[in-house]
């Protein structure tokens, strides 16, 4: 049962990652909804902050290999 749970969480996490890349506006909506639920249930502040951060973040551009243009990480290739 635990195995199934771990596998389920991993698959959902990967699905969310790709949803975030392909349809960032949808994921931002999901995170905003999650944030509201967490506020209602008085979840720990760090968790709520993390979710709020995701709800407000913009998607990464480029091919996914770099850290985005204009940052210290090194632009696009």
């Amino acid at each position: 049962m635990i195995e199934v749970l771990i596998v389920g969480v991993l698959v959902v996490a990967c699905g969310l990652y790709w949803l975030g890349r392909l349809a960032p506006s949808v994921t931002r909506g999901l995170w905003r909804g999650t944030g509201r639920v967490l506020d209602v249930v008085h979840a720990p502040v760090p968790v709520r902050q993390a979710v709020a951060g995701r709800a407000g973040s913009t998607s990464a551009g480029g091919c996914g290999g770099c850290k985005g243009c204009g940052k210290d990480g090194g632009g696009c290739h």
Binding site: E3, L22, G61, G62, C63, G64, D72, G74, C76
Partner: protein, 619 residues
Amino acid sequence: MDAMVETLPLRAALVGNPNCGKTALFNQLTGSRQKVANYAGVTVERKEGRLTTPAGRGVRLLDLPGAYSLTATSPDEAVTRDVCAGRYRGEPAPELLICVLSATNLRLHLRFALEVRQLGRPMVVVLNMLDAARRQGMVIDVPRLQHELGVPVVTAVAIRKNGATDLLDLLDHPPLTGPAPSAKDEDLHATVRRLLTECVSRPSAGTEALEDRLDRWVLSPVTGLLILFALMFVMFQAVFSWAQPLMDSIDAGVSAFGELVRHVLPDGVLQSLIVDGVIAGAGTVIVFLPQILILFLWILVLEESGYLPRAAFLLDRIMASAGLSGRSFIPLLSSFACAVPGIMATRTIQNPRDRLITILLAPLMTCSARLPVYTLLIAAFVPDRYVGGVFNLHGLVLFTLYMAAIGSALIVAWVLKRGGKATEHPLLLELPAYRLPNLRDLGLGLWQRAVIFLSRVGTIIVTLSVLLWALSSFPAPPAGATGPAIDYSLAGRIGHWMLPLFAPIGFNWQICVALIPGLAAREVAVSALGTVYAVGGGETDAAAQLTPLLSAQWSLATALSLLAWYVFAPQCFSTLAVIRRETGGWKMVVVTATYLFGLAYAASFVTWRVALAFGGGAS
């Protein structure tokens, strides 16, 4: 109020001619690692960084694309013009313009400095590459130059550690006012000639410089093309010959790791996910790291040495016959690494139509993501032997595939230009000095490539492998089912559903499944095949055994057809996204996707039929 102004960071911008070392200086000052290379046009958009001067003053530094003049003729030069003039949207005018000049090419670069001076904004001049100028025997009277220009002048060697300390000191107390205005009708060329006479002394012309002697060979239409062809040929030979021992080691490591995990984890879904999904998926791709690094080692050496603009010069005539200008060469060459920076580099092309056509051609260049697909299929279906005792057959086939892509791009360009009439201005190219590649820069460049590749494996490929594993494993077959379990899974059904479209070009349903995640990144097609065969065939070691597995289960015609498909492969999502951004709409995205899909399908169909006719249909 004054105190508040002091705490606000100074807004400064690096401007100058292309290839004068602005980005190297930017990296030196801000600790960034933006791409630098020994040719013009590497930076095509503004980059921003921050630094703190020795006295603790904050500086917000912009690195602007190189420009030959403030009268912009291309989109990248327009960025520089607009920022300097304070017209760039959302970007206030810089409080200080740092005009970078290459000390080795003052005749050209001083003219731009004079143009910047006419703006009347506070500015400083940085004489970069002073070490190279000294090696050439040049002596520059810096105080005299400062007096004549009427702005502070400092020297720098941007590629050397602590090579910009004078500039850093100057930024503590930057000039607050601009230079005295010069006459609007000033003859800038005459002023440059006067400045050179008064401030620069050169050794008298003597024996022919080594560079000139080299260029006589390298730029000759006959020997130059032979040298270019030989360099490319050896590069692809090296990709196969040098990488093999390292690939074998990684392959063995991945295989051993898979076995270890299989023994440690109990039988069940978690073991299947890790072994058949993650290891079989990511493991099949990670093996190609050495080949990708060798390919990039060559590209980096060619970039650093100053050879690339010479290759562009050589190919200008060939590209002109297809209606392209040599200016398209650097964007197309960048696309061999990845189409994304290649398409961005088209901003250096002045003519909008030529720029659009170069954007359409960029996905045809063989990006490094195709390398795993090519090498997997070549290793599986091409005998590993030497031709004439010297040339590795694998390398020859790889070279042919790259040449096929280039040839196709020229044909497509010719068709798009309807007869190959060039509309771009004649190619004017600044040939940089030859330079021995710096080992540290090469190491850093390779390290960045390795990090990029591994981060793609760790994110894009692993996540897609997990999703594909789930699609290949669920739903489970119904009770009493007799066929392979994967046939009943979602992936199996999708593959069989797509089969009627792709069967005419020789693809099986496993390839159909692999094509979908291959749109995210082409190399994912390899990991997808690893996962599908691991889940479907129950292979215990699919990651390490994919090559013999494919050679046993596919016909040669199928493999050749898939190779032809990937020469034109409908591009990845990132390429489509950057085309949308660069063209400002979806129209060109649809055009690109449609024409590449059509080309890929037609090429695969012809290849499949021809291979069948020659008896390549048996597996």
